[in-house]
Symmetry: C2
Subunit: 209 residues, 2 copies
DNA sequence: CCATAATCGAACTACAAGTATGATATAAAT
DNA sequence: ATTTATATCATACTTGTAGTTCGATTATGG
């Protein structure tokens, strides 16, 4: 078989497997999805799964990677679109919130937080805590936009400020997601209203950094 | 055996087991510590362990609970000690950072985030995402201190503001912890310097909420 | 000493990840 | 058309660990 065809086939199979895994991960949760489940859903035998992926973790990471590409694409638009720093900032926040809502099972993975649980092999030290460089670049770009229009102080390094921004935004989203019930019942606002308020407050900290 | 004595014994055994588990969890990590390890370390048989704890998760949660008590104790001091809102706020931040440094294995648990991984049983829906009410109370107390001295606006509900504060602070700490290496190499500041800077920025957002 | 409760030890189940192997189907090369 | 290579399958296996069971053993108290 030609190298071309071989690669096409490989991609085809990996895609099928990933599609099946995505469905199961989102409906039943990553931990409660077994490799046999994935094999059944994808209509492959388990051994074939292991031809294309060396572990369940690799499948999970592949999905995270895919979504990361999607997300960085959306973020790139949010950031480069015309409009002020403030507008871009809010677009970014919005992007992340919507992503978290659509794909809660992977949000943690995107933040480079939750390695897969229950894996036999010790987690890959190299990737632990690593934020995708493209993502970092985008955030830095956003910060620099703010600096250019004098909304942000130039005293703090852009990458450091980007890092701070990211930690704040993701902290806000994470907690809001985890406790949305309380937000509604106790604070008597919808999650969205709370979030937009929180992001606005946080914005204040950025422009006075 | 008298009821008194029975309870004392139960406590004694639970304490021994927890002490052993703590050591192993901190040195080898929660996931890489087996029940047999704990039994060996505590010098009990595995069956006895299961007399006092119904699962590994219960052991973990017990430890988290203990530490939570410790932490809320420290936070109570940080908050009620004399001094301005600003000073209390920074003491609280400091408390949390030091706690995370001392007990990284449990920090996530304290934030009500990471249920134990790899557990056979599905995680307890009731406790998922629950923040200890005492902790919440303390944070609200802090916010109210700030309102009383007119540092904080009274427009936002105290519990909502407390929630925002908590999500920001914990977001900052989490990411700083996960990526301390990059902070030092890329931003050329120590983690502590970065954190104190970040907390100060975040403070700005609070007083302009 | 006897009854009761605590503890032990060791074998066992259940379950999921990952591996190994030999059978079978499919397609390319001769 | 026959051989050869490769993709896929089915199944059984290994390994690791949580959690269970139960009869044997060792305190402890009356």
């Amino acid at each position: 078989m030609g190298e071309r065809k071989k690669q096409a086939l490989e991609r085809f199979n990996r895609d099928n497997i990933i599609t099946a895994a995505k469905e199961l991960f989102e409906t039943h949760g990553v931990d409660h999805t077994t490799m046999d489940d994935i094999a059944r859903q994808a209509d492959y035998s388990k051994s074939t799964i292991y031809v294309y992926f060396k572990s369940k973790e690799e499948i999970y990471n592949s999905i995270v990677h895919d979504y990361m590409d999607m997300l960085t694409g959306e973020l790139a638009i949010a950031i480069t679109q015309e409009g002020s720093f403030s507008e871009s900032y809010h677009r970014v926040c919005d992007c992340l919130v919507r992503f978290d809502e659509r794909h809660p099972a992977y949000y943690a993975g995107l933040l480079g937080e939750a390695q897969m649980t229950g894996s036999r092999k010790k987690q890959d030290e190299a990737t632990r805590g690593t934020i995708a460089p493209e993502l970092e670049q985008l955030l830095v770009k956003l910060i620099e936009k703010g600096k250019k229009e004098k909304t942000l102080s130039t005293k703090v390094k852009s990458n450091q400020l980007a890092f701070y921004m990211w930690s704040g935004i993701s902290g806000i989203i994470r907690l809001a997601d985890r406790r949305k019930a309380e937000i509604v019942t106790q604070y008597q606002v919808t999650k969205d209203v709370y979030l937009s308020h929180a992001f606005s407050m946080f914005y204040e900290s950025l422009i006075r950094g």
